[in-house]
Point group: C2
Chain length 279, copies 2
């Protein structure tokens, strides 16, 4: 199979990765995925701050913002749309888990096309699959967008129906956590609830933005444990990520929610690059 491979390793197209890179050997790294609109990385500052925080949580030295911005500028043409993925690993080491004291992080920036989502996902809402794969509770890694993503891969293997937009993931206690590639919010009256991610899950940039936008839309935001039965009883359910913004969830297994406007109201706000105003 052929893929369009456009990427830089440590700023250079001619560099490759070796199996001694700890990203490959152990998943010892972090990443972020963000859209490029008209040549500009959307909400870059937020993504960079999350990269920094995630690197910090793992004890990886995060490259300077300007270095990553220069890589992106090298890959993305003027006025171009696309998706940029930035990966930072701990770098190369000898075989073995021990971290070399002077590990030099590896940075990889790759560019792919914007996904071609069905228009109906935006206009009518989406169907979720309820995954049997449960997320393990690991407080040391919770919230971090790290490279250990086998749970997401296994969960994504559970369905093939292209009508399904994403798969809902619970933890092993049955708490609702997220979807395989998105975070989740439920509206209960005037309250927007998103699952607590202190034991598992990935804290996405769009989740952070929705938490901040909630009061603007007249809602109180709450981050807490969420049961599947509460999700089923919610007035509205939306999923969100940096690429599609927000989608209204209409179906999960045999359950249906009525038509709602939360996702489209969120998308309208999310379209704006709010970096300048919120930081």
């Amino acid at each position: 199979m052929q893929y369009v491979h456009v990427y830089l390793v440590n700023g250079r197209r001619e560099n490759g990765l070796t199996p001694f890179d700890r990203g490959f050997a152990y998943g010892d790294g972090v990443f972020r995925t963000l859209p490029i609109y008209f040549g500009m990385p959307h909400c870059w500052g937020r993504h960079y701050r999350r990269l920094q925080a995630d690197c910090n949580a793992l004890g990886i030295v995060c490259p300077a913002e300007g270095v990553l911005r220069a890589d992106i500028a090298q890959l993305v043409g003027n006025g171009e749309d696309g998706v940029v993925k930035v990966t930072i690993t701990r770098g190369e080491s000898e075989r073995g888990y021990a971290v070399p004291p002077l590990a030099q992080p590896t940075r990889v920036v790759s560019k792919t096309a914007l996904p071609n989502y069905p228009e109906s996902h935006f206009s009518e809402g989406v169907t979720l699959f309820l995954c049997a794969t449960r997320l393990a509770r690991q407080p040391r890694l919770a919230g971090i967008k790290h490279l250990n993503r086998l749970e997401n891969v296994l969960a994504r293997m559970e369905w093939v129906d292209s009508q399904i937009a994403d798969g809902l993931l619970l933890d092993d206690d049955g708490n609702v956590i997220e979807c395989t590639m998105s975070n989740l919010f439920v509206r209960m009256g005037d309250t927007l609830v998103t699952p607590d991610l202190s034991r598992c899950g990935v804290a996405g940039v769009t989740r952070e933005r929705v938490l901040e936008l909630a009061p603007v839309l007249g809602y109180t935001a709450e981050t807490r444990h969420l049961r599947l039965s509460e999700l089923m009883d919610a007035d509205e359910v939306v999923i969100c990520n940096s690429l599609f913004g927000a989608w209204q969830v209409r179906h999960l297994a045999s359950h249906a929610w009525p038509v709602g406007t939360l996702a489209s109201r969120l998308r309208e706000k999310l379209r704006k690059d709010d970096d300048a105003i919120s930081f």
Copy 2:
């Protein structure tokens, strides 16, 4: 820093890895590490069968045994000693967790030097560190030697004292599971107990061999949940892996076990390549 990088990607020295390899992007793959003595991969058949089983558990197509043997032969000179690491990933794909229906697995075989362990680890036994990092319970991944190894990395970062041979890992219920790079056995009278790995941990080839050797040495083998207090009260404790065989554990935090002979008796048996006789 410079490392000796001797490896083949899909059988060729000139191949590199791209960030689109799912081993790098998601840790979507498995590996095994084994010693080479006099140019021969030790217990190769067992390692290959574990690679096959682990690939199978993740739905990855494992390359044929002859293909991997040919890679090893290409890297390892006649009569040479060393360590070979074999990694199989699901191969390259577009961005996103979905597995392409025709994914072509990537195989990486790398060669490094045999580790230079202190002689005292063999003659006097070793000290273990009790890690604060706990292993998350994920039955879907338990036992598999997959590439999602951040827990091991974090645990290994907890100590720097070079006198410490390995770190003991418990699960989040406080059960003893393994060490960061080895499996563990405790002797209680005539019984050798090794932790149940149905919820977390890596099922190593040497653990499998010790379970088979137990009756030969006059012990009954048991695989079950093991509490830290039982470990402390055990007559002997040993850790084992494919590279060092078995080491007698003498110290864990302030606890000490007396001199014992279990590790040296196991090493004597483990030295033999038992593939021909046991399968």
